[in-house]
């Protein structure tokens, strides 16, 4: 049991913003240290090999949502669906790694149901993105972030500043690890993967 499942709403060529570029730089290198299965939102369902990783593509069943939280909640069902296929098909998967809150809801589902540790990489937070006064959507996203971060065994960030921000704004019960390389992230995994 030494494999890791990653959850993301973007990975090239399914690109929304900067997260896909970061993951393109990180995941192939990390995959050379620990086998990775990636679940990603795509144009339709399917499995494929990309950058040495097994990729579970999930299409979106719901095309219309009244706001971004509603969209992300529906999206996370798709990610949990793809993640379930990955986990049932690979007895080696022992750890769930989600990227930002947008895929962390599915991370909490999979970690809770399959009783695996959950790690969340946090690149930015609603507390950073939103300018006061916060509207109800900002507050809803903040609460979802808070909920997911509380469920994680560890949060991974890239800077000490982000670590301080999380400690101050979200008070996560798990450890917050500053990792700037795939090797450091693998080091965090070893705590659970042996």
């Amino acid at each position: 049991m030494s494999n890791v499942i990653h959850l993301s709403w973007e990975y090239p060529p399914w690109t929304v913003g900067d997260l896909s570029r970061r993951l393109k730089a990180l995941l192939p290198a990390l995959n050379s240290l620990v086998p990775i299965s990636l679940v990603v939102r795509a144009d339709r369902d399917g499995t494929t090999q990309m950058d040495g990783m097994k990729v579970f593509k999930v299409g979106t069943s719901v095309r219309t949502s009244p706001n971004f939280i509603a969209y992300s909640q529906a999206l996370n069902i798709e990610l949990a669906r793809g993640g379930s296929d990955a986990i049932h098909g690979d007895p080696g998967i022992a750890l769930v790694h989600a990227h930002d809150w947008i895929s962390s809801i599915a991370g909490t589902y999979l970690a809770s149901y399959f009783r695996m540790p959950l790690i969340i990489s946090v690149y930015s937070t609603e507390a950073m993105r939103a300018r006061p006064p916060l509207n109800v959507l900002n507050r809803g996203i903040y609460d979802l972030e808070h909920y997911c971060f509380q469920k994680a065994e560890a949060l991974i960030v890239e800077t000490e500043g982000m670590k301080s921000h999380l400690a101050e704004q979200y008070k996560p019960p798990g450890r917050v690890e500053v990792c700037s390389s795939p090797e450091q992230i693998h080091g965090v995994y070893r705590r659970w993967l042996g």
């Binding site: 379930s84 986990i87 049932h88 589902y109 999979l110 399959f114 109800v136 507050r139």
Partner: protein
């Protein structure tokens, strides 16, 4: 069989009829030997875990987070239901009710690799007539997704079966019709039968027609006010039980029509008060424009009161015109007034409708509904067992 029932409402937290439906179904399934766990809502005032009449309850509280709207509130509730499912020792089949628990149902189906079954009580397209905005379109798409993921879809009438097939594109062979159950004890309060004056259904010299339902357009309460205006000279009065967004409009309509002495708005009433109102009514009128089933018609029949209903939806399947009730053209106040006039003008009709109405109730018994639901469970489990879609032996929970 271990059934995981998902519902956004369940006593003591009730919003509409869905919660009572799930309660009765769960109770009768448990009485027939099934192991039922209901995942549902609490606002913190009811216990997170308890067993009531053989049904195991797990309640989750969505008010631990903030939401911008109702859709995301429902999603938050479902998110906590998925998490709460880890407290369930095991389940063989998942039974979700409406889009309101579809999110959790679909997620748990894929994680557990256990069959999902859905009861669709009503559809957004049916309720609204069309889809006006992104919230309604989202709900409609969730209903489609639930229908797509479900092994079978249960609905309460042939009308709803057609609506689900056409609006959600479900193959008709996947849809099963089981009429809703009705518990006649609900209105058996020991108060006795209908109050009789010199004429049947006359209370202290006045004949009163009763409407029970939400005061929303789809229930057609505005037609009742128009009919009251047409029937003003006949001395018939109308009691309106229920609340809703149309109430100020209806009150204004009634005032402008000079009907203040003829139409009374009673708001919400207790079951005991409702029972007494049924008992004192000459007739019950349900002018719905959209009605998946129409359990109020069964309540009235049980109370021994003739029903006058619009010829639509489930009401049309419960009522046979001139046999166990009277029907009128949906949306027509004139047709409604004519049906009431017929009841007033044909005294011999009254006892016949009462007698046949009571005789109609037998096929809506809850034990029968539970037995038919179990039969669908068994059929789904049989297909599931023969198929190859199963949890990994290393991943499956008991």
């Amino acid at each position: 069989m271990r059934v995981l029932m998902l519902s956004w409402e369940y006593p003591p937290h009730l919003v509409g009829g869905l919660g009572r439906h799930v309660e009765n179904l769960s109770r009768h399934l448990a009485a027939q030997g099934e192991e039922v766990t209901v995942m549902t809502f609490t606002d913190g005032s009811s216990p997170p875990k308890e067993t009531v009449e053989g049904v195991n309850m797990i309640r989750v509280n969505p008010y631990t987070m903030r939401y911008p709207d109702f859709t995301t509130w429902v999603q938050g509730l479902n998110m906590l239901m998925v998490e709460g499912a880890s407290q369930v020792p095991g389940f063989d089949i998942i039974h979700a009710h409406d889009w309101l628990s579809a999110y959790a149902g679909i997620t748990l189906k894929h994680m557990a690799r256990k069959p999902l079954l859905a009861t669709i009580h009503a559809t957004e397209m049916g309720r609204r007539g069309t889809l006006h905005n992104d919230t309604e379109r989202h709900i409609h798409e969730m209903e489609w997704w639930l229908g797509f993921e479900a092994w079978r879809i249960i609905c309460c009438s042939n009308y709803m079966s057609g609506e689900i097939a056409s609006n959600l594109g479900c193959p008709p062979g996947k849809i099963e019709v089981i009429p809703n159950g009705f518990d006649p004890r609900l209105f058996n309060t020991g108060l006795g039968g209908p109050v009789k004056g010199e004429d049947p259904g006359t209370d202290e010299g006045t004949k009163t027609a009763l409407f029970v339902g939400r005061l929303v357009h789809e229930k057609g309460p505005h037609l009742l006010i128009k009919a009251a205006s047409i029937l003003k000279e006949r001395g018939l009065k109308f009691n309106i039980v229920g609340e809703g967004a149309m109430k100020p409009y209806l009150e204004d309509m009634s005032r402008k029509g000079g009907l203040r002495e003829h139409v009374r708005f009673l708001g919400h009433v207790s079951d005991l008060e409702l029972s007494e109102l049924y008992r004192r009514s000459y007739a019950c009128v349900f002018p719905s424009l959209y009605e998946p089933f129409g359990i109020v018609a069964l309540e009235a029949m049980s109370a021994g009161v003739p029903v006058v209903v619009s010829k639509t939806g489930g009401l049309d399947e419960i009522v046979e015109d001139g046999v166990n009730g009277l029907e009128f053209t949906p949306g027509s106040a004139e047709s409604l007034a004519q049906a009431i006039q017929r009841l007033l003008d044909e005294p011999a009709l009254y006892p016949k409708l009462v007698e046949n109405g009571k005789a109609s109730l037998g096929k809506y018994s809850w034990p029968l509904v539970a037995e038919r639901t179990r039969s669908i469970y068994r059929s789904v489990m049989d297909e599931y067992e023969r198929g190859g879609w199963k949890p990994s032996p290393l991943r499956g929970r008991p």
